[in-house]
Amino acid sequence: MQPVKPEPRVYSRKGARPSGRDPAPSRWSYRMHRMWLTPAYRRMLRVGLPGLLVAGLALWFLSDKARVEDITTWVDETKRAVEERPEFMIKVLSIEGASPELADAVREQLALRLPLSSFDIELEPMRQNVESFNAVASARMRIKPGGVLVVEIVERQPAVLWRHVGGLSLLDAEGNLVAGAAARTDWPDLPLVAGQGVEQAVPEALALIAAAAPLAGRLRGLMRVGERRWDVILDRGQRIQLPEKNAVAALERLIALDQARDMLDREITVVDFRNPLRPTVRLTSYGVEEIQKIRDFEFGR
């Protein structure tokens, strides 16, 4: 028979098991267990409650303004301290591949107050700044270990000297402005071009100059006419008017003529090749008179 009252806990001689009653969960532990098996409750207790607690703590912690300020200053200081470690400082600016004048100009333009943390430097705007120089074709920037900011510059190489209304300028092979020039004599080895709209036609000009190599001794320069075609200016006031299209071929034909008949050594001021099918020459007044004389003589007048 089962005892009506729960027995006092008497332990048998043999073991630690209480005698009489079998073990059973108490009503409350049973209920707790069932509650714990409820999915919603379990999710709430395992995710919701800790999350809520953390969020509440964080809110409470951040509700004080002074504390927030402390945190922000501490964060800033730590950031600063890391940034200003010697490993990240830039001490030297080195410019490679530029002439000394350009290097000085670039240095002046960048206006870096070294030493500087590399976190404070933005390379892309600086690179664009450097590339804004006319004389700079392209620039690359990188930070070398040891605190060196290297600017690698590829300079534009002047290919022609351009005489225009404003004076003299240097252009590179693509027609980009390189720099101004003070005098023709400063750049004796560059060919001279003149006229408006030269910038767009520099490659053609260079091709013409290369084609005119047999006339090199006599070549004074090229002239752009009406922003569409070229005139080759030789010494003794001679001028070769080239067509808009196939100017180089026309020039080569002329040079061949010259080499065969010494055409350009004669009394000719202008060779008009603008229409390649009908080349025309203009003689000097002396030449005209001489021809007249010869003709008269022939006809016996």
Partner: protein, 444 residues
């Protein structure tokens, strides 16, 4: 009668709710053990292995995901004797099963073996209004059954319509749609003591569980221990439990009789305890290890140390021969079987076409029992083990668990009972509405 109808229907509703939720627990409250299984219903497709007919031909729409057994306390003869103790035992079992399943269970189907089940055969007959049997005709014929006066302290546990007959054609399972002039039904009604049910309900309620069904353990162990042919052709299942032996007789897949003999394995243990003067747990141990019902020559020489804890050397080193033990056990087993025989005879079991008797329950594991039983109950005796269900632990597949397994099957596919049919229209409280609708339909 109506409130029985209501409570049973509400239990059915609860069961459907649990099915929707997918988890239901079954609780077998026995005299020697309380077993709790947690079932998960996911539909039959889920557990189907491959092509063709699934395992158990679709019966395995569930899976056992938690199982726990605990020693029963506070239960005698399959009835609750000490409520607190029983409640504690139920709590232990349910908690352990929940822990194994890792799921919370709210609905529970309970079976118990005691409470003096009594069977009644009922019949009812109605004239069919329009020569075709319809759903409400079935409900009407069921409610036309003459219910015997079984007393106000008894409750209906099962009410199965066993057989329908239209005019003179009998043996119909489903009369709906058939033509005839009159419909009659045979119904099997099982009543139990109301107090026992109320105690059980109280314990379940104290464990924060909702009751989704009640079943007699004799019935459910018949479901699981009898194979389909036996259920069809007629057989009796004898569930030899701890405190009582449940008897259920099946034919045409319906239970037609149930009863219980209030003697069981615990009485054998008590006999051994008294006869050998050993404590009950030692007696139980001796019974399960050395027990038997047929003595042979070698049993005289097989000595069993029964021991003791008194400190008296002579007393603590006692030995008995196995033949002596068998001599104690056999009369009690014979008594049980003879009582069973008497009940079966009283029920007219020998008029059944097939007289298969299946012994199951914990006590059926006694060696030699089938020989003894065939001497008392007749030649067609076999030992039954429960059907295999998915996920059942190996420890719970023995014959002691045929009630639990049967309860699983009962939970999965319950047979139609009286309250599964609609309340007939003439008993309907809001029949005026229905009559108004009928009038409307007739006149417009």
């Amino acid at each position: 009668m109506t409130d029985l109808y209501q409570t049973q229907r509400s239990m059915r509703r609860m069961r459907n709710q649990a099915m929707d939720r997918g988890v239901i627990a079954i609780l077998d409250v026995g005299t020697s053990k309380i077993a709790c299984l947690v079932l998960r219903f996911d539909g039959p497709e889920k557990f189907r292995g491959g092509e063709g007919v699934g395992s158990l031909a679709g019966q395995s729409s569930f899976r056992v995901i938690g199982a726990a057994t605990t020693r029963s306390r506070g239960v005698a003869f399959g009835e609750i004797a000490a409520m607190r103790e029983t409640e504690r035992a139920i709590r232990t079992a349910v908690q352990a099963a929940q822990k194994m399943a890792n799921v919370r269970v709210d609905h529970v189907i309970v079976s118990f073996s005691g409470a003096r089940p009594r069977s009644y055969g009922l019949d009812g007959r109605i004239d069919l209004a329009d020569s075709t049997v319809r759903d409400d005709d079935v409900a009407r014929v069921l409610s036309s059954c003459l219910v015997p006066d079984f007393g106000s302290d008894r409750e209906v546990l099962h009410a199965h319509p066993v057989n329908f007959a239209i005019d003179h054609r009998s043996g119909l399972n489903d009369p709906r749609g058939q033509m005839g002039n009159s419909l009659s039904v045979d119904m099997h009604l099982l009543t139990v003591d109301m107090q026992a049910i109320q105690n059980l309900l109280y314990c379940i309620k104290r464990c924060d569980l909702e009751l989704a069904g009640l079943a007699s353990s004799a019935y459910v162990s018949g479901i699981s221990a009898l194979v389909e042919d036996e259920q069809e052709l007629g057989a009796a299942c004898v569930d030899l439990g701890g405190g009582s032996a449940g008897i259920s007789v099946f034919i045409k897949k319906h239970m037609i009789y149930a009863d219980s003999v209030r003697i069981g394995g615990e009485h054998i243990t008590q006999d051994i305890s008294k006869g050998l003067q050993v404590p009950l747990n030692v007696a139980e141990r001796i019974k399960t290890f050395y027990g038997g019902v047929t003595a042979t020559g070698i049993d005289d020489r097989e000595m069993i140390e029964i021991g003791g804890d008194t400190g008296d050397w002579e007393h603590d080193r006692r030995k008995v021969s196995r033949a002596e033990l068998i001599g104690i056990m056999r009369p009690r087993v014979e008594e049980i079987l003879e009582d069973v025989r008497a009940r079966l005879d009283a029920a007219g079991f020998d008029h059944l076409p097939a007289q298969q008797i299946v012994l199951t329950g914990g006590c059926s594991q006694t060696p030699g029992l089938d020989g003894l039983a065939s001497r008392i109950l007749g030649q067609q005796v076999r030992l039954g083990r429960p059907l295999r269900v998915q996920g059942l632990p190996q420890a719970a597949t023995g014959p002691a668990f045929s009630g639990s397994v049967g309860l699983c099957l009962f939970a999965a596919n319950p047979q139609d009972e009286w309250w599964d049919f609609d309340i007939p229209a003439d008993r309907y409280p809001a029949r005026s509405l229905k009559r108004a609708v009928k009038w409307f339909r007739d006149n417009w």
